[in-house]
Symmetry: C2
Subunit: 307 residues, 2 copies
């Protein structure tokens, strides 16, 4: 019998991501003790009922006591208060990690409160669904998905290796990256697409009733993908934009310029400008498909593209 | 033995949509004679090899001779020249239809050239993939999808009914609508989403090489949906934007205003504004899901939404 990777793990927050990781640990390391902290008793009851928690807490400090690993799985806006609350209760040699979608701000908010001898290994699994809460999780969520770790330069390499192993046990491929580079890449692959999806669905919400009804009815033609993206957790996404402001505003600025240029081309009837761009964008798609066929999960594309 | 819905059908253009409809007709009306017109001999050879055409033409006028139904399946920008070319060759009592994603411009470009006694029933199947050409088609493409018909007020009701039956044979649900209303609804459900997807993928294309490489690598987090949409046929989409200019510019103007308001909220750190919108957009998603569960195909959503 091998000893578990971490003997005691504390989850602060147990939504979609936290509960999915807890399910993985139940499978791979059944001997691990899992403590769960949540603000609402209902969430804790659910986590207990689902067999995801051995002990339930509303106080983060109580939850992390004796934990070998602390996984912060709340919206990013709560991190600073959590770090302050658990600071004095962390055991020497403990490892703290998280699953947030922004990494520089997380280091800014958490690192100053961690005592010497506690390692911080910020993490971001590139996986999820538009559903929220502990009942939405499942153990296969991370399989064939990337997990990016952004440990600050002086982080204990052994802590990084162990957190990496945790994610590889979940079926993920682990990549190490600088926090600010992560935030820049994710601003374009994830944060801007979400902002745009929220915007366009919001624009549709403001249409007259009968048009809105038909937009919903005929959503198969592209819009439906946007409604799925725009159904993601509102607080989580508010905190992402509040905490990756610079990178999001930079990429949003470039996007707006490009969109304005297309608007101008449409108004002037400059078909060549449009066709040139529409041809150029196929390259990136080929890159995405090639990459995925070589490396990582392949899904069947959705089929609704006749304008 | 029942007689076929249309004894002789002529396809002008045989790409994804045309070839899929031809496949349906081969199944449901094997006695129907199918003529196909395309500009390139290679496309015609493919259509013959796939068993989709009984006769192949490069001249549209020759193709439509004796046809009971003419289905125009080219990019919209070619319609006017096609209508002029076939005008004198159409047989009295023939029905002309199409599959284009814009309907007012199509009526403007085609109707003036059709002789008395020929009915025009403009159509738009809300189905497709990002793939193009006769080999990309398949008979199931239209199953459980909408087809919108936009016949001008004075169109022969019998012609409308027969075109409707053709699509119901393909497994579609048929809806009749005014052309300008169609164009306004599709501008938001389809044309704006495509324009945005092309733009954001174009913005990514212009990034430095190393960031671009990582955008492709980590595309699972939202961006990948956009790359799929932005891989659609460039000429078809150029023509859509050139021919639905007013509706697209109107909805694009609203979208840009809304996006600018969000940009301002991010810059000022106004989290409440973001959260309020992100909560409101969930309503439309529920509408989309409810509608689809009641009426039409349900697909499993993609699963990559953790920021």
């Amino acid at each position: 019998m091998t000893s578990p990777l971490f003997g005691r793990i504390a989850f602060i927050g147990i939504g979609l991501i936290g509960s999915s990781l807890a399910r993985v640990i139940r499978r791979t390391d059944p001997a691990t003790h899992i403590g769960v902290c949540a603000r609402s008793q209902a969430t804790l009851d659910t986590a207990m009922r689902l067999g995801l928690a051995d002990a339930a807490f509303t106080d983060p400090a109580a939850c992390v006591q004796n934990a070998d690993l602390v996984v912060i799985c709340t919206p990013i806006g709560a991190y600073k208060a959590i770090a302050q609350a658990i600071s004095g209760a962390l055991k020497p040699g403990a490892v703290v990690t998280d699953v947030g979608s922004v990494k520089s701000a997380v280091i800014r908010d958490v690192a100053p409160y961690l005592p010497d001898g506690v390692a911080f290994v910020p993490g971001h699994p590139i996986a999820g669904t538009e559903h929220s809460g502990p009942e939405a999780g499942f153990a296969e969520l991370f399989e064939n998905h990337w997990v990016i770790l952004t440990p600050p330069r002086d982080t204990d390499p052994d802590a990084v290796a162990r957190v990496g192993r945790l994610w590889r046990n979940a079926g993920s491929t682990v990549e190490i990256m600088a926090a600010d580079h992560h935030d820049r890449v994710l601003a374009i692959t994830s944060h801007l697409p979400h902002l745009i999806a929220y915007t366009i669905v919001g624009t549709a919400t403001d249409l007259e009733e009968d048009t809105k009804r038909e937009v919903i009815k005929f959503s198969a033609s592209g819009f439906r993908d946007f409604t799925r993206i725009a159904a993601s957790d509102p607080v989580m996404w508010r905190d992402i934009f509040m905490n990756n402001k610079d990178a999001v505003l930079d990429i949003l600025g470039r996007f707006s310029e490009d969109l304005t240029a297309l608007q101008r081309a449409i108004r002037r009837g400059e078909g060549d400008t449009l066709q040139e761009l529409f041809t150029r964008t196929r390259e990136i798609r080929r890159g995405v498909i090639d990459y995925r066929q070589d490396k990582i999960d392949v899904k069947t594309p959705d089929a609704d593209d006749n304008g």
